[in-house]
């Protein structure tokens, strides 16, 4: 019984030299992404060089944190041992969010009943503490 009540931790991102600036900004509730200083492309997920032109001149730049739901799903079942920590959250929303600036980020839509989420819905970033100093950028409806 004690076994069953034990909290199963959710997986956290590993911080790498490339992703570190992203997570540092997130910890101070700022959403940043890489932008190429040569071709001006946005780059997401974080990369060592621009995925459009190959330049290594990438700089971290703030984004507005506003966007729309491009696609979403209601998670109703956990698959795999590593993700069992999410069982208590079911049902919940995972989504692809298209930011105003263009990049598409995978995240959760929170602070909204699951049946109210629709494609095209306007959302804005909200940071949730996930443990060990990590803050995850999630999205809530703009009311």
């Amino acid at each position: 019984m004690a076994e069953a009540s034990k909290e199963i931790p959710k997986p956290l991102p590993q911080i790498t030299p490339i992703t570190q600036p992203f997570w540092e900004a997130a910890a101070s509730r700022k959403l940043v992404m890489q932008r190429c200083s040569d071709c001006r492309s946005w780059v997401w997920c974080p990369r060592p060089a621009c995925v459009e032109c190959g330049s290594e001149g990438l700089q971290w730049a703030p984004v507005s944190g506003r966007g729309t739901v491009f696609a979403f799903t209601v998670i109703r079942e956990v698959v795999g041992r590593a993700l069992r920590g999410f069982e208590k959250d079911i049902p919940y929303i995972t989504a692809w969010i298209d930011l105003e600036e263009g990049p598409r980020i995978c995240s959760n839509v929170v602070q909204c009943p699951v049946e109210k989420v629709v494609i095209g819905m306007a959302v804005e970033v909200v940071f949730e503490e996930a443990g060990q100093g990590i803050f995850l950028p999630k999205f809530k409806p703009i009311r």
């Binding site: 997986p11 590993q14 799903t73 995972t94």
Partner: protein, 325 residues
């Protein structure tokens, strides 16, 4: 370089598939056993022995529950052969087709004149899966509770339904048709016909993906042997020539930071295969699609050019697939 009619498949082997080994008392076979079994069946089919593979090619496919870094070498050890060239297939469900071209290329280059391609997995009897997730998945999906392909294909399906107006009934028709084809295949695991009602009543896993949309894990092994035309002519089966082939990895329709997820790399690889084979859609009598998830069948039919995007969707798909429901 065109690979048209320069190699032929000369044998194949398929073990029965099962979902046993997870519960106490169930018969339990592990990956290496399915691997050896499938390879033996392919060799028997071709009229070859494993000695014929020494100094030839081996193509071994990594599977999700078994992806150790030295897998092609380990597979050679399991089979007791000494390949002159070993290839690893790391393209998931596309690996067998991907390696078909790679094998044809090394044969055509004169490096070898036979290649055994083999895949095996035993997710039910070998617990756990590889922890080696791609970094983007590990860092930017799993912390948000993304449940692997069920979830990501739900994104694609939800967007597809939004853009096309395709409904659950349309997807259901494809599922019913795919299952009908399984009833004709003695090696299929699910051979009982599926009705549209049963499809629609199956439980939601990750909306709009329901149980009968999902890929079904199973234990099993598969293998084929490909040969140069000269070698093929000495073997007992009529050679089946490879006419066209294409591969495209990390394809992106549009800018990579917001690519269109409804267009797959098959648009380019399919077109390359048609061009190499010098055939048109009308020449195709049998279409073997990857049926991991039902909406993915639809995307393949579109991206191969059998119908336009969003053109009558489910009806078109069911008609192309050969059976209206």
């Amino acid at each position: 370089m065109s690979l048209r009619a320069k190699t032929a498949i000369v044998g194949c082997g398929e073990t029965p598939v099962d979902r046993l080994g997870g519960k106490p008392g169930e018969p339990r076979k592990i990956t290496s056993e399915y691997l050896a079994w499938a390879a033996r069946l392919a060799l028997e089919d071709a009229g070859l022995t494993k000695k014929d593979l020494d100094g030839q090619g081996l193509a071994a496919i990594y599977t999700t529950n078994h992806s150790q870094p030295f897998w092609p070498e380990e597979a050679a050890g399991i089979l007791g052969i000494s390949p002159a060239v070993s290839l690893g297939g790391g393209n998931g469900g596309a690996s067998a087709v991907s390696l078909l071209g790679h094998a044809a290329a090394i044969i055509n280059a004169g490096l070898v004149n036979l290649v055994l391609c083999v895949a095996a997995a035993a997710p039910f009897s070998e617990h756990g899966r590889s922890r080696m997730e791609p970094a983007d998945t590990r860092d930017f999906e799993m912390p948000f509770g993304v449940m692997g392909p069920n979830c990501k294909i739900s994104f694609v399906m939800s967007r597809y339904m939004y853009e096309s107006g395709m409904t659950v009934d349309h997807f259901g028709k494809i599922a019913v048709t795919a299952r009908y084809h399984a009833t004709l295949n003695p090696n299929a695991y699910l051979r009982k016909p599926l009705t549209l009602e049963e499809y629609k009543k199956s439980r939601l896993i990750s909306d709009p993906i329901r149980l009968y949309d999902c890929v079904m894990p199973a234990n099993g092994g598969k293998a084929y042997i490909i040969a140069s035309p000269e070698r093929a002519k000495t073997l007992r089966k009529p050679p089946v020539y490879l006419l066209g082939w294409g591969e495209r990895n990390n394809a992106s329709a549009g800018p990579r930071f917001h690519a269109n997820p409804l267009i797959t790399g098959i648009r380019e690889s399919g077109s390359a295969a048609f061009d190499m084979a010098d055939v048109s859609h009308r020449d195709i009598a049998f279409l073997g699609l990857y049926d991991d998830y039902i909406p993915i069948i639809m995307l393949q039919i579109e991206d191969l050019g059998f119908c336009e995007k969003n053109e009558n969707f489910g009806c078109t798909a069911a008609a192309i697939l050969g059976k209206e429901s």
